[in-house]
Amino acid sequence: MSATAPTGSECKVQAINFSFSYAYGETKALHSLNLAIRPGSLLTIMGPTGSGKTTFLRALNRLNDRVAGTGHTGQLLLDGKDVYGQEVDVAELRRRVGMVFALPTPLPLSIYENVAYGPRKKGIRSRAKLDTIVEKALKTAVIFEEVKDRLHSSAQRLSGGQQQRLALARVLAVDPEVILLDEPTSGLDPLSTLRIEETLRQLRSDFTIVLVTHDPLQAARIKSDVAFFYLGELVEIGPATEIFTRPQDRRTEDYITGKFG
């Protein structure tokens, strides 16, 4: 039984019978996934390890291409166009679909250059334009105040929480439409986690956000829809309150009650 969110051409991201496999078909990571995400919504994906959550994320921005022997069937649409289409410019795709990784890792550059990295690669040269983009991105990621007078010092010396917000700013600087976050707060202290969640809530209206997490409380706190993945299938999808209180599928229930991690 795979429940699908309201379909319709107006959704931002849509998977239609999307399956994904590694090692030349040996290991099946996703089984004919059907899922639609409305623009400006915030979806949290939960499920035990190996349920295909990260694979789905890395399929959306095609980072999976870097792995040898991957294959997919079905379609994965962004604004109605298949991301695996022939004429898709992967670099452009990755700019529209930004990603924040689990471990907060700044590039070995200054704070300024970290954020300006994406725009520079897009071809933006002018100093003034870069300055405004960087400032806007840092402000949106709510870290500008803390770093505005040491923009050119190395980003390595920031704290874990700051580095993750810098990573968010890095993505925002490229002006994405969708933001993917792969367990962004798993390595952070509770205070930083709350601040990241607060930022996500604010960004919700401007961007389509897909968040992968292990922490049910996080899903509840940011009041998002929750999609439950299990062994590569979408088991259930619906508002956090409903999923946690009245799980339809026993597998969801077992997961929430902590029977298996």
Binding site: L63, A68, Y117, G118, K121, V171
Partner: protein, 286 residues
């Protein structure tokens, strides 16, 4: 008597072996330090500005070794300038542009067997190909191309090692921000790997500076100050070899050897400093 319990016999054996090991360590270091010391001491009296800055007269019996110094520096730098793009390019190709397959195995095999070839064979090849076939004659260029082929494997190996130390997550971040492969290489991979690559190039230069067999057949042995890279040149080791073997001037021979040793030690020490500075910086960053 179980082999693992400390019996009387093994205690004595232990002491003897320890003494032997300490002796071999002392001997190894002493011999090598003695050689450097001996050359420096013998060469020192001749080492003055005149010796370094003037040209030789009477076939090197008197005068200085300026042409050889200039020749060695130009020849080594040119060979590094040729080997660096090829070596680093190969390393980038092996790490960033291809997966381990038959093609990369062929390149690796080529590089490794090139590394095993003795310098006399490079000398023969350089003579046949650059001097005669490509009609470059005995010249700095022929010598540099020959030396470049010799140090290419070293540059490839050290560059590849340096590139592999760059955490893969940096590449992921760059790609995820819409960076292309070449942009990722030039903006993220190479800057982090740069110290390792530079060290590799310097070590390669260290080896090239002391080379004789490959250079005698390709760069020639003319004592005149080279005007362009098409002129022949007698590098320091070759000049030392000729002066020493032919008894033309033992003092100048030692002087040349001392200059050569200082050059080689300076090059290796600078490579060493970079390694330590990078290791220290990497520790402090973690």
């Amino acid at each position: 008597m179980n082999a693992y319990t400390t019996s009387h016999r093994s205690k004595k054996e232990d002491r003897i072996m320890l003494a032997l090991l300490r002796l071999s360590a002392f001997l190894a270091v002493a011999i090598l330090v003695f050689i450097v010391g001996y050359i420096m001491v013998q060469g020192f009296p001749v080492l003055n500005l005149g010796f370094l800055l003037s040209s030789p007269t009477k076939m090197g019996r008197e005068g200085g070794i300026l042409p050889s110094i200039v020749g060695t520096v130009v020849l080594t730098l040119l060979s590094a300038a040729i080997a660096t793009p090829l070596g680093v390019g190969t390393a980038i190709f092996l790490t960033e542009y291809t997966r381990e397959g038959t093609f990369s195995k062929v390149i690796r095999f080529g590089t490794e067997s090139l590394a095993g070839i003795p310098s006399i064979i490079f000398g023969l090849f350089g003579f046949l190909f650059f001097v005669i076939r490509l009609n470059m004659g005995w010249s700095i260029l022929s010598g540099a191309l020959t030396l470049a082929s010799m140090i290419l494997p070293t540059v490839v190996r050290t560059s590849e090692e340096a590139i592999r130390t760059v955490p893969d997550v940096y590449r992921e971040i760059s790609f995820a921000l819409g960076g292309s492969r070449w942009q990722t290489v030039t903006s993220v991979v190479l800057p982090s790997a740069l110290p390792g690559i530079v060290t590799g190039i310097i070590l390669a230069i260290g080896r090239a500076v002391g080379e004789t067999a490959a250079v005698i057949f390709t760069a020639g042995s003319s004592l005149r100050l080279p005007q362009s890279i098409f002129d022949p040149v007698r590098t320091l080791p070759v000049h030392f070899y000729i002066l020493a073997r032919e008894g033309i001037s033992i003092e100048n021979a030692y002087g040349t050897a001392a200059v050569l040793m200082i050059a080689v030690l300076l090059v290796n020490v600078s490579a060493y400093l970079i390694i330590n500075r990078v290791a220290a910086r990497r520790l402090e960053r973690r």
